[in-house]
Symmetry: C2
Subunit: 379 residues, 2 copies
Amino acid sequence: MPMRPPAAIGMPFAEVDTPALVIDLDAFERNLERMADFAARTGIRVRPHAKTHKSPEIAKRQIALGAVGVCCQKVAEAEVLVAGGVGDVLISNEVAGAAKLDRLAALARQARIGVCADDIDNVAEIEAAAAKAGASVDVLVEIDVGGRRCGTAPGAPAARIAKRIAAAPNLNFAGLQAYHGSAQHVRDPAERKAQIAQAARYAGETLRALEAVGLEARIIAGGGTGTYENETASGVYNELQPGSYVFMDADYARNTGTDGGPFRTYEHALFVLATVMSTPVPERCILDAGLKAFAVDSGMPTPWKLPGAVYQRPSDEHGVLDVSACTEPPRRGAKVLLVPGHCDPTVNLHDWYAGVRGLGTAKAQVECLWPVAARGALF
Amino acid sequence: MPMRPPAAIGMPFAEVDTPALVIDLDAFERNLERMADFAARTGIRVRPHAKTHKSPEIAKRQIALGAVGVCCQKVAEAEVLVAGGVGDVLISNEVAGAAKLDRLAALARQARIGVCADDIDNVAEIEAAAAKAGASVDVLVEIDVGGRRCGTAPGAPAARIAKRIAAAPNLNFAGLQAYHGSAQHVRDPAERKAQIAQAARYAGETLRALEAVGLEARIIAGGGTGTYENETASGVYNELQPGSYVFMDADYARNTGTDGGPFRTYEHALFVLATVMSTPVPERCILDAGLKAFAVDSGMPTPWKLPGAVYQRPSDEHGVLDVSACTEPPRRGAKVLLVPGHCDPTVNLHDWYAGVRGLGTAKAQVECLWPVAARGALF
């Protein structure tokens, strides 16, 4: 039984049911345009990460503004994106297991599909699945550029895997995945810059090792919302994979921007709308949104335009709003917007986006309802 | 598009796709029986909390073993439970907003439905919805017994709300909700006992205030997996609401039991099965299960029967398994079981349970697939 949407199209914003995942469409569109402008200005390719939004509707809007395709992390996400009309998807991740690789190969007969590999045996598995399906799959070698997650060592070990890919009849060696995940949330811009400079050196070293074996990387990919300017400036990378810029969560807002001021290039465009369900004492409002409405791995959500209010102590279905420092605490039944601490896993908790036009004005109303189509796409 | 299940009924356990939410059916059934035995032995009613499992299949098994009904936290959860054949559901929570209350009243025409209130205006709203629907709704007054979440003050303020309920033609004053949430995970059993003794004093004080206005509480409800023995021993409570005992998560396993030893009354029966997708260096395995497969609000998942392995640094789709202290680290492609840190919000991330019979034996196989039917039931 699919979950009901929290709103209907055309509904005044005040009537949206809670907890609801709300997009401020005006801010969201400005965010999309800002990244597209950056790409146009610098000449770099952008392949936004769809793991943030999990929505073909949003992916298609990114592509319409110039993105070359999108990334995702799972075959099941790629299936949803392709079914929704996206023609070029890179799974910026390793895929293990024959069942998943068979699905990946089947998908590669419908759309341009890329995947990453950091292991020579894995390349053989991808080739076997692609051959069985009669499909052609792009494969990037993932190198560890400092994130200490997946990725082979840069240089010769990576070139060895690339050679195996290039030799496989149903695979295309497409380039390098050189994403530095942990650098994204480093607060200090000089430190982020230093980490990406090192990542670019690893990527450059790998390009030379590829050259030594007669291979060329068409794509040198990396960069997230926290560092994409650094990858661009490196002169090594040619494709960016930012995701969170579409929504901007509270955690990214804690970064210092490259100009030394707060990182405000992108606007908060994603909110959870919650209702005050109980006001047992004057200093405490209880919200109907807890661990099932917010991911709290990167900190608590931030109440929006409610000075003095602090969200704390979430349980499954409750959040405590400390309003002891609020001059006008919300009353029982009032609705409150909050900026999620971490947008990607928060989106994954919801089935619907309510896209609101004119948020913050008296005319605010629901313009669209988009399913979070790849929510729960784990496989 | 509903998410595919990770397995098929009859499939050998080794073939289950990942990340998958796995129930060890043998341990799970023993857990259900242990709580049923406790209820039979002590004569207390048990109304298990379905917010843990979100499954009518499991709720019906609990009721078949003697539970008087189940609890949940949201109208949408109650709708799923009633649609799945559960006839008695208490929403152990406040419900705010006319749209939700209309749905609650409609549901009360199909099943016995209770709800909590901690505010006199909220009682009027519930009555209005019930009257409009021609329904009869049980209402419990929630009192704050120390959890500092919802709940009116014990004693006379609670009795005043109860009087309002009793005077409403379409509402039945059903008793007191006196659940102490934050006591559940207090590690020291003496401290848990002291907190529940205080909660029982608040409940007793409220019972006397009710008596003074000529009212009687049919239900005095509270108790979770961490404290239900204390509520039972108090002599004040007559209905327990434990949820997590069916699955036992890693966080509850950190409690000290009433006997002074580790809390091992219930067995770990819920796991996430993950695949090692990358082994870039000998000391690190990368699992395909991160923030989209585990809730980490109560700590990291614990690798099961893999001594020395430590799960850390989850990102959306990855978890890093530090295997530097493992004598036999798993290889790429191997599958690993982990005990979630917090079962309720972890369950909420998955669409399916794969129920496995004989887990840990060579004959382990998938006996059932149950949908997490109330996953995402936020409203």
